[in-house]
Symmetry: C2
Subunit: 450 residues, 2 copies
């Protein structure tokens, strides 16, 4: 790869000729990154240096802002040529980002077959198999022989997204089987392809959730997954490069949702306004909820006045049980996401969490009890016993709820990452503060201790 | 898929014959799951029903405990046959789990070529390209024509992990180029393969971090990545199914580490003892650190006695700034993991976080100030101003540190997920409690307010 300085020098001094050579020899992903790194005014210039055959593949690697800018600043004819060459799934993704009027214009300029493919994909809701599939796959009639099939594949135009699987269909496009190019290559030339096809075909409906599709492809180590409509007709395939992207996206969403980013899709390099929008409403909502926890303290102000060590213990109690809940949630949510945990295993997992929770509760309760002894005055050391008990109960509740709530949400087809650790923390704190201060006040009033 | 009941019935009543048919018709992943779901005593019985040609592929899908159990309970000859058929990378993974004496025995029984391949892979440290690669790839001499190349591929034994890329080498195994089966198929039969090969070959050294390899393969949409030794000789390939596994594993690690699971690799269905080991030491360490935050409160007990509303405000302050830090860390750590954020962008991102942080700080400070007014007695309402100021500063510090620390760690080649939100929270709380109580006490003492 070229260094930034060298590239700038090339652009400025040696002129555009050598940059053109460099750009056309780079990998499309690198060329896309390079163009995106240029000042906006130079992006269109650099992009025009690309050979026609490469322009579309580089375009697919550009960030959506740059794509959008280029569709405005390049000639309509150039844009049309690029959009025509893009694969239907990438084109659908681009159209999602562009203003509606631009999409409308581009759609009318597409060739009829490409327009149909794009309109088909755009017709499915975001996040479904129909939306991420491509319509450029290899379809064979089931009555071919192996050598006929290979001949047929060799004559296809080269823009099929993968030629490594071929799908067998009947005249009504019903999916009957799948053969890999590998099988074709190792088989005798006059074998009927039908006899090579696998007995059980794994396929998904167009309505399937994209994450479910990715999970199935990972499970069965598939390079492509056929997508069928409600009548069982083959309409597209999802390829393995999409699987990687989908799983990455879902992992990002879980990580961000678990720490209270709305939607879970904040980009690290987004604008400050975008950042505020993704974070502040949630933070304010959380304060509103946390007023509950704070209100649990309010009635006990006189107790705190009498025994101020309570104000030292409360944050440790809140912090620790929050952490325990956080640990339980993250293990459970991730386990549900990767399919390691199945909602039917709920009691098996709860049992484990409660057993482990008992050990943790005893240890953490003991530690808090001892710490209280250090900070409290001799006459209020009995508070240590109350602190230890409340900590132990809170830790056990934290581990149980942190495990149980995400599983239950999943069972009712909700997003398990909705139980974000901060929400659980607020609940735990309300409960913890109230029991801790309540019990302490009870001891003070009824038993006249201290 | 069969229901559990039906399977048990098959096993018990109709005898083993129909189970045998079912098992041999299932997808290997499903057959593996089914066997793993049986009571341990039935697992070896069910496994023996598999056809010899399928046993190894099902074996690869079994959880490692079951694999280990089977290597003990099957005949040595059966085990040897399975291990011989496994691909070298999966075999290396199995050997990692088995007791050393079993590995030693199995290694000596392998055929010389398989033994060499496994020993090679086991020689590389865990987490490197050398350890996850497979040695079963297609290598071609560069002087072949396209039709000779296809002939050669067709004559290979079928256990190459992928035949969709072929690597061109010279007599010293130096990697010279790569051609895809797709290129071969679309080319004229007498074209020299050399002319089809891409000019720039993307490859990684055996020592490359597995995550880096996965990121490169995702970036360039590769189905396989060649791995070369220090002298540039081709030694193996990493395939796309490994990429999916590696990225999933890394995402799990980040999610779990961010919530204080030691190592970030706790399984949701692990034993309670394992769970305690992964969680308790971190929780205890965190309490030890949090003693710092609590100690920041201790000197101010008399102030709290005088103004107990402070004890209500402190948890809100701690909770909110903790959440702000958490948000910033999760966006930054994930951005670094996916490569969206580059450590050189540190100032660009910090600028954005500080701008967004200023808005959030103003809003959250204002809210806390107003809340303080609600809970405080008339003569102590000035505390609201102190609370608002401390909240604003803490929020700004939280967002900045939550962004800066992970990037700096990455820059110094450390794991960015080491800055777990709880550690930041502890620091923020110490700082926040001390400034809040300190300022309030100052006002009380020097200005005799209240």
């Amino acid at each position: 790869m070229l260094t930034q300085d060298r590239r700038e020098a090339l652009l400025a001094i040696e002129g555009l000729a050598s940059l053109k050579t460099e750009l056309n020899n780079m990998n499309p992903a690198d060329a896309g990154d390079y163009i995106a790194s240029l000042p906006p005014k130079d992006q269109a210039i650099a992009f025009r240096l690309l050979a026609k055959s490469r322009a579309a593949s580089v375009f697919e690697y550009l960030p959506s802002e740059v794509q959008e800018m280029l569709t405005e600043s390049l000639h309509a004819r150039e844009v049309q040529a690029i959009v025509e060459q893009m694969s239907p799934d990438d084109r659908a993704e681009l159209f999602d980002e562009l203003p509606a009027r631009v999409v409308k214009r581009l759609l009318t300029q597409l060739s009829p077959s490409e327009r149909e493919a794009t309109a088909l994909i755009l017709g499915y809701p975001e996040g479904t198999a129909g939306r991420v599939m491509t319509t450029e796959y290899v379809r064979l009639r089931q009555d071919l022989t192996v050598s006929q099939a290979i001949q047929k594949i060799r004559k296809l135009d080269q823009d099929k997204e993968t030629i490594y699987y071929a799908y067998l269909t009947d005249a009504e496009r019903q999916l009957l089987g799948v053969v890999s190019l590998r099988q074709l290559l190792f088989a005798e030339p006059d074998t009927p392809v039908r006899t090579l096809a696998r007995e059980t075909i794994i396929s998904v409906p167009t309505t399937a959730d994209q994450e479910e599709v990715a999970r199935l492809m990972k499970r069965y180590d598939l390079l492509a997954m056929p997508v069928v409509d409600l009548e069982g007709r083959l309409v597209g395939i999802v390829t393995v490069d999409d699987v990687v992207d989908i799983l990455e996206e879902e992992a990002t969403e879980d990580i961000q949702k678990l720490s209270g980013i709305i939607g879970g899709d904040e980009e690290a390099l987004s604008s400050p306004i975008e950042t505020v929008k993704k974070r502040l409403p949630w933070l304010l909502g959380n304060i509103a909820l946390y007023m509950g926890a704070a209100s649990a303290i309010a009635p006990f102000q006189s107790t705190i006045s009498l025994i101020p060590v309570l104000a030292i213990i409360m944050p440790i109690l809140a912090n620790t049980s929050g952490n325990v809940g956080n640990q339980a949630i993250s293990v459970t949510v991730r386990g549900l996401a990767t399919g390691e945990v199945n909602p039917v295993d709920v009691f098996k997992i709860l049992r484990k969490e409660i057993l482990a929770g008992l050990v943790n509760a005893a240890a953490l309760g003991l530690v808090l009890g001892l710490l209280t002894l250090i900070w409290s005055r001799p006459e209020e050391q009995w508070v240590g016993i109350v602190a230890a008990m409340v900590m132990a109960v809170n830790v056990l509740v934290a581990a149980s709820l942190g495990t149980f709530l995400p599983i239950i949400l999943k069972r009712f087809k909700q997003d398990p990452a909705l139980v974000s650790p901060p929400l659980l923390t607020t609940t735990l704190d309300t409960f913890g503060f109230f029991t801790f201060l309540g019990l302490t006040s009870l001891f003070l009033v009824y038993f006249k201790v201290g």
